[in-house]
Amino acid sequence: MRTIILKSASSYLLPVLLLFSVFILLRGHYLPGGGFVGGLVAAIAFVLDAFSNGLDKTKSVLKFHPGFLMPLGLLIAFFSGISPIIFTDMPLMTGLWAENPIPVIGYIGSALFFDLGVYLVVIGASLTIIFTISESA
């Protein structure tokens, strides 16, 4: 859509929304949120941008093709799932946790990486879907 108003509004919203999405992701283990909703928020931010600035612009803004985020995210989730098999003698998906919590994020553990994988996959998948539709619409 060719409207300056939307365009400039969204260019300010985009980074803030991305920040918010990470926020939602990180707090998921303690409060409502998590990788899925976080990923959706991020995806929505980009979709918004695509609506206002056009798809090509949004694509050039994104460092990665969204299609690449899907396997990447799944790979992260996959590795966090099988890391107990590789590094310890525990069954898959066993939580591996750092001894002490770190600030902001809390305990660092494989579950967090898992959620990060979810986050990336959701961004990748949602964007792939929506971008594809927009392109062929």
Binding site: M1, R2, T3, I5, L6, A9, Y12, L13, V16, F20
Partner: protein, 131 residues
């Protein structure tokens, strides 16, 4: 003290929201409805959120409330603008008692390009002649 503020903000907020709702129901055309609802609701919800911030009085809550309010204040008018112009595209007529429609025939039907230049000149002329 904060209790009273909570009463006031939440009460006002609710009233504005109610007004927006009634307005949306009553107003005779799309543009008026958009007009009424955007502000009343934005103000109303802003007040309601403020009430929450006042109630909790925690920085984390307050900052979050501010974030939401700012967000709403940015997005609501943009949304109104978008849906308003769309309404014009799809040919929703103005209320019968409307006095003027400067947008008439300004949109290119195919490209949706919006003319403005001639209008501006006209206006400038008027302004000049006035001063």
């Amino acid at each position: 003290m904060t209790d009273i503020l909570v009463y006031i903000t939440s009460g006002l907020g609710a009233v504005f929201v109610l007004l927006a709702a009634i307005g949306t129901l009553r107003m005779p055309d799309q543009y008026l409805r958009i007009s009424v609802n955007t502000k009343a609701a934005t103000l109303g919800v802003g007040l309601l959120l403020t009430a929450a911030a006042l109630f909790f009085l925690e920085t984390s809550v307050t900052t979050r409330v501010i974030a939401v309010i700012i967000f709403i204040f940015i997005t609501a008018p943009v949304g109104a603008h978008l849906i308003g112009r769309t309404s014009y595209f799809i040919g929703n007529a103005l209320w019968g008692k409307s006095v003027t429609d400067d947008l008439k025939d300004k949109y290119n039907k195919i490209t949706h390009e919006l003319k403005g230049h001639e209008e501006k000149k006209e206006n400038e002329d008027e302004t000049k002649s006035k001063s």
